[in-house]
Symmetry: D2
Subunit: 279 residues, 4 copies
Amino acid sequence: MTNINSFGIIGGDKRQLYCAKSMADDGYGVYICGFEKCDTLLGMELSDIDTVLENADAVILPLPATKDGITLNAPLSDKVIELDKLFEMIQDKPVFCGMSLPFEKKNIFYYGTREEFAVANAVPTSEGAVETAMLEYDGTVNNSKCLVAGYGRIGRVLSDMLAGLGADVTVCARSLKDLEFIKAKGFHAVNTNDIHGKYDIIFNTVPYMIFNAHILAKTALNALVIDLASMPGGVDFSAAKRLNIKAVHALSLPGKVAPKSSGIIIKNAVYNIIREEHL
Amino acid sequence: MTNINSFGIIGGDKRQLYCAKSMADDGYGVYICGFEKCDTLLGMELSDIDTVLENADAVILPLPATKDGITLNAPLSDKVIELDKLFEMIQDKPVFCGMSLPFEKKNIFYYGTREEFAVANAVPTSEGAVETAMLEYDGTVNNSKCLVAGYGRIGRVLSDMLAGLGADVTVCARSLKDLEFIKAKGFHAVNTNDIHGKYDIIFNTVPYMIFNAHILAKTALNALVIDLASMPGGVDFSAAKRLNIKAVHALSLPGKVAPKSSGIIIKNAVYNIIREEHL
Amino acid sequence: MTNINSFGIIGGDKRQLYCAKSMADDGYGVYICGFEKCDTLLGMELSDIDTVLENADAVILPLPATKDGITLNAPLSDKVIELDKLFEMIQDKPVFCGMSLPFEKKNIFYYGTREEFAVANAVPTSEGAVETAMLEYDGTVNNSKCLVAGYGRIGRVLSDMLAGLGADVTVCARSLKDLEFIKAKGFHAVNTNDIHGKYDIIFNTVPYMIFNAHILAKTALNALVIDLASMPGGVDFSAAKRLNIKAVHALSLPGKVAPKSSGIIIKNAVYNIIREEHL
Amino acid sequence: MTNINSFGIIGGDKRQLYCAKSMADDGYGVYICGFEKCDTLLGMELSDIDTVLENADAVILPLPATKDGITLNAPLSDKVIELDKLFEMIQDKPVFCGMSLPFEKKNIFYYGTREEFAVANAVPTSEGAVETAMLEYDGTVNNSKCLVAGYGRIGRVLSDMLAGLGADVTVCARSLKDLEFIKAKGFHAVNTNDIHGKYDIIFNTVPYMIFNAHILAKTALNALVIDLASMPGGVDFSAAKRLNIKAVHALSLPGKVAPKSSGIIIKNAVYNIIREEHL
């Protein structure tokens, strides 16, 4: 980490601010821009974009860097920053951004597609799921019957959290290997093809239709259903409505429930890239 | 439980409704009144007070039964029910109410002062504390440094929940015995007279001033402080404000965060009284 | 802790040696005697009894200090030390011993009757119970159905350990308060008067007859029963034999399974006495 | 599972007996042979090999099926069974055996190489590791500082168990992804290239040399080292001896510590094969 001594953080939400703050705490020079509308700058000062690019050895853009393909994703800014103009100004400096951009550029690195980044984000996602359950369910999570569908990153972290709160945890999965890991935890293990029983709270993490009308009617009457899978999710929301089941599609939880932790996760991913790429 | 086959639930908040619902699910006749303004009756029907008292073998009043000493505590009702009139109508039927009333009456029983009731309520209180932490703290509870002050009912349940979410848990207590129980859990154990270190989230459960300006400055800078102790609590809130520390006095959590579980806790306490008193 | 700068540890088993070692690591002068037959001295040197008493500011005797009322309990010594002769030599120096002696003496303090000492010892006792279960049971503790009878110190620590290993834990107790604490942990809570179901491993911590022939036949066929309650225990061992149930009376576990931790627990109790008594 | 209604279990240790017993409990016809020297037959009867092969629809051989390539692995038998003679008698019946044999055969299936079998066995292996630690370490696992090297199947299950017992758990791994999963659990996460600190108990699960003289001297003085990795393991045992560090190579734990659970794991793997292969 010899050549990069300062970062410019441009655009994005509070996560980027916390990423900047944490980098400053680590001793880096940090220049931020695009946060005029934020209620706090965490003790940092805003710069204009020219100052940022003049001083920063590398640039960090948000996740996603753009929503329309043309302008930077900067919901806390009151200015519009055009992407091609921005990249012209950046020149050959290293750029870290969330996910692949619609054009090529030298020295561009993606932190949002890294595996350890995804695992780390399973933590705020799972906590956001627990928080949603606590807000929406009239009983306690403690001693409730919870079903977690899927035992990938989120299923693994979430089921541990629920058990830690004293819930009665069932996890369904398809692979025999995952079912053994689930049993080893002392949870009830059920094959996804054979979901049965009644639950108080159901968490889906699987990105295809599992909770259709039939399964909802069988397992979720009087239950709260929280779908954590990205669009289109794994829950038939219109069937849930017909059946009078409260169903919530909870997306993008890390940035919403824990911008501080999420910002540090971005920082760590950037550091990992710098180490691996000898930047 | 031979003589009581039906209950009249009069006044109170959603907890009482859930208590009624759960009793109905157990097979009891249930008559409710005083919930006109509630958004749901959980599938039950309202009765007028005469019908309730005509049909119910026993009456359940809320916790507290009165706030002004004169009228029934019935925040979901649009009528005013005077206590002495009510008790005249009740005559000698058994009455279960939360805490001691300003007058004597035959056949009156208090569920709110029972020890198992207090322990059971430590669960929704602790979950409410966790929920508050998740809502107010910008990071995740997972991997945050948490301090729980006090190892009574709430401290015991809450510290387990925090550890179950993956927090780094320190508990402070005064009794050597409690400190050993805390160590046995694998938590950091600290004498309350010797609180030190910096924390991300501090939970106070002790009903006297522990977190004065000096202790707050030493342990809580940049922290979130949640006081769970009943008034006046154990946190110097004005000092917290001066020090720019976010401090929340979170009271009466069970009814707010988990009316369903809280209602069942009331039901269980009533059943326990009936069993013990051979009613 | 100003006046006591050195300790003489006389008699007892390996726990006393570890107590001595840990005190030496804390910087105290430590003189030991009565361990000639021990396979290790943990790097310390033996002294004769005169040297010990000449140099030590205070004396630590084992738990129990005597088994016959006449001689010191010194199973690792090849000499016989008579109690009254010993106390004559000790004169007025503070003496710390496990439990009450058959005579009076000035400056004598009992570490074995302290509450925090009992709680701390619940940890090695519980681990010893787990170890016994692992040795005697042909299956894994993980996913076994375990019943813990009693929710005092040992029941509390042991049930957490079993759950931590992935067992399916049921705890029975009599007090409504304890039953609520058990439920809060997410365990199955059963009234001791109403034990039912079949278990793989049963741990008794209650010092009166619970597991009579009737209860054993109902709950423990093919089970392993481990009685942790002091004599006479709470298990009908002859009934167990008749019923072909493997039953183990596991006593004095701390010294057997974890002399190091047990020695440190003794040390901590001695330190606590010194602090409280301003010795 | 239509065509196989009975199993012949020939040879192996107590695991095979428990496998047979559990299959009998499931309603299958079960014929066993090769267990003359076992202290118990779990209520089953021995048959001679001809009876077994006459009656059984399928045959289960142990893991490994042979140690010398010529005779069946049957440590509890007082007869020698030659493999080629055995297979001649078996003819075309399905055979389930642990690992690949030195010759080809129609209708042979290997349960020991299946992934879910390996995961399931991580449980008795981890419990055996805990049991070994309890037996060999003079303190309690509770509050000991434990290092687990590797976060594969065993590392994952073992670290949860240690934490469940109240240990202070550090896990080292190499992949950034695993390090994030470790952190999510609330454990200390350390890169394997950067192991540091002092530990009380070290568990190695990685099958290459990590704990060389240098690392042992740095982290394991006064520690207990338990190597769970298959030969040659990951610990320099001669260096450990030189350094006076107690080091144990604990192999083949499932059959030793939990033959019952291990037998059921074999049974489940056989059932899974039957389902997948439509036997």
